[in-house]
Symmetry: C2
Subunit: 430 residues, 2 copies
């Protein structure tokens, strides 16, 4: 009988046992960072915490948070807890809003990364006989490298194509018979567009069956569109350069996001007060890496908003769950006193008949007043039908029903919004 | 005492022993491809050779060559000798002149690749405490992946930056303290230009000491320029997607190219007649991969022209040598009955005072007659001095002294020839 889980013993471990393991690892971690890194040593002393004070998981709350600001200050290697020469790989964020965030790995860290990625890809259905087209952008960005490591651990074939040159992507997908793809969800939709232009039917002309998507926020409705368009099952991946890149969660067949909790301890806090919330409440995700060597993080504030919860799952995995990300606190827009996440607008738009998957939220600022509008591409067919005011009206109503806010929607000519091979730019300022 | 070789036992093995090992592996290989691949089975039968007929290394000459044409015909996986599901990684050439060439690897092949790359990088001086900025373009192209595997095997830190965004390259080089760089030689020169524009002195403002260059033809003179410009030692790397990507040779401190002959059996043939030449003669390199599983090649005609020779080297390595590549038979130009390789023109140009590293060979065809001219950028200083006809005259004389051919040279304004982050385009047609 083929095995159901990549690492059955760990993935189905009773929650109680898992928590005991977390505590054991947490104690070790605190001692480790205290001994090996000046910044952490100072931080712990300032908080008046000695490693021996950590007696329960709850005691983690005695410790201060680690913020983006700390990472910037100690850029590039100030938070490393090993010798620099023990690092074998480094990734980095793009650093568009300041110094990049650096993710250094020892050999053991790389193995750990491969292991949690193998779990995640295996949970998506990837097996040894699959061919994974790895269309995330290779480079400093962490994504592609994580997918490569995990898929190779499973023994699948990795086609290291990176992003871009979309016609070539389609030819390779056809010629090699790729059965799985890893990229941003918006890039997969652009690929479908190009495949159609090349005369293919994305649903029937390829062997594709699994999509491994991440690195941008996307709604459940968008997921359904991707699945329909390609005739595949689309899975969510979640990760951050600061934690381990992709591989933080494993999405099962039930489309539940299981946190790989033997390695990543998760808390949810109020983004305003920093107060720890009980499981089941929405808040900012905070992660502690329990086993990383080069660059462990202690209570890292992700700014990502989601719910953490502990309940049983039909898939048999016992690891705690998190909801999909509602948005990042950075992405939050405040319009006429209403909090708006781009993902909410996407959810509304995707309900309209005749819409393509391409839209843009236009933010305009006049003095202190922010207003929003939306530009959305109907499908070619819908565009030709005309009567676009009914299309627009319907979209405005859907948005209103979710947000209680009037946001004007304009139908624009198909294929006018720029396509991206990486993260789609959903919000623009004008 | 620090060790001198990555794999002392193999790299200093007496030549006689090495040849015994080659023969043993060759016999096994012939049996293997005969049993496991229809194409090879048919080819061997057509040549009337049974595996048992291979009794000496010389017997390889009984076998037919493998050509680019064969690879195209059996694209993508027709030459694979394992099950497709045993492949864990695939690379490919750009396929600009037809179907791409595909390089599939099993897990053992990947390990072998890492091993020969580790030998090569170690021979360049790369050690565990080095930081390798991997500026080859990641993607389907084989280069970056090979350097990553080899450097990680040594335990060096790999900065997976890929090519492009040159200002960022320079910032990372500075911030991370990169001690080694891997990229095309022409890209390293462009980086130096950008570093200077950013106010850095490439020689003194960085920790760089080792350059690992390849993927394009470059002359010894160009190598000296790169070394002077950056204050580093520049090493040549050689490889092909069909063989194993980079890692075919290890360049030692003496700047001799040692073929990793326990894995790659080398012949040199006359490109015209296909006849095997004695060591010491220049001809087309032909490789047989002795140990690859997924995609072994038997007598692959590379079209690369070089000399294969067996002599002792001061570095202590016993593996046979090859000269640097003079050019590919595809690159050969025939002008007024004279055979010209772009590398010869480069050698001539680099001898002139006041030349930058940027030049272009312009090929013009009128009916059956091909003529050549050269456009070369003087340095900024030389450009400002004026009297450029003496610059041009000197360049023409140097070229004449090598080729016995008059090739007009035109000095053109600095920074007008397009820079590349990958292979430089040295010959253009007008």
């Amino acid at each position: 009988m083929p095995k159901e889980f990549w690492d059955s013993k760990t993935e189905t471990m009773p929650l109680k046992e898992l928590k005991d393991l977390q505590l054991k690892r947490l104690k070790k971690l605190i001692q480790y960072v205290y001994n090996n890194n000046q910044f952490y040593n100072k931080k712990l002393k300032e908080a008046n915490v000695k490693p021996a004070d950590i007696k329960t998981l709850k005691d983690i709350e005695k410790l201060p948070f680690l913020t983006k600001q700390d990472l910037r200050e100690y850029y590039p290697f100030g938070l490393v807890c090993t010798k620099i020469e023990d690092i074998v790989e480094v990734h980095a964020s793009s650093g568009t809003t300041g110094k990049p965030v650096v993710g250094p790995y020892t050999k053991n860290d790389v193995d750990l990364w491969g292991e949690v990625m193998a779990r995640s890809l295996y949970a998506n259905g990837l097996r040894k006989n699959d061919i994974l087209q790895n269309s995330y952008g290779y480079g400093l960005f962490t994504g592609a490298h994580g997918f490569e490591k995990g898929a190779q651990k499973i023994g699948a074939m990795v086609v290291t194509i990176s992003s871009g040159n979309t016609k070539r992507q389609i030819n390779v997908m056809k010629d090699f018979g790729s059965t799985a793809i890893a990229c941003t969800p918006s890039y997969s939709l652009y690929m479908a567009e190009v495949a159609e232009e090349m005369g293919f039917d994305p649903k029937t002309d390829f062997k594709l069956k699994i999509g491994c998507f991440g690195a941008e926020a996307w709604s459940d409705e968008m997921r359904k569109n991707v699945e329909k368009r390609w005739g595949i099952t689309a899975h969510e991946h979640y990760g951050l350069t600061e934690i381990i890149g992709p591989g933080v969660v494993s999405e099962c067949k039930e489309k539940k996001l299981h946190i790989n909790a033997d390695h990543f301890l998760t808390e949810v806090i109020s983004p305003d007060t920093g107060e720890t919330l009980e499981p089941g409440n929405e808040g900012e995700l905070v992660f502690t890496t329990l086993t990383k060597e080069a660059f462990p993080v202690l209570r890292f504030r992700t700014r990502d908003l989601a719910v953490y919860y502990e309940e049983s799952c039909n898939c048999g995995r016992t690891h705690p769950l998190m909801s999909r990300i509602k948005g990042r606190s950075d992405d939050m827009l405040k319009v006429k006193g209403v909090i708006v996440f781009p993902s909410q607008i996407e959810s509304a738009l995707m309900k309209i008949e005749g819409i393509s998957d391409n839209y843009q939220i236009v933010k305009t600022k006049k003095g202190d007043i922010t207003s929003l509008s939306v530009e959305a591409e109907p499908t070619e067919d819908r565009w030709k039908q005309g009567k676009l005011d009914s299309f627009e009206k319907q979209a405005e109503d859907e948005i209103y029903s979710i947000l209680n806010l009037h946001v004007p929607v304009k139908a624009i000519e198909p294929k006018t919004i720029p396509r991206s091979t990486g993260k789609a730019k959903r919000v623009i300022e004008r």
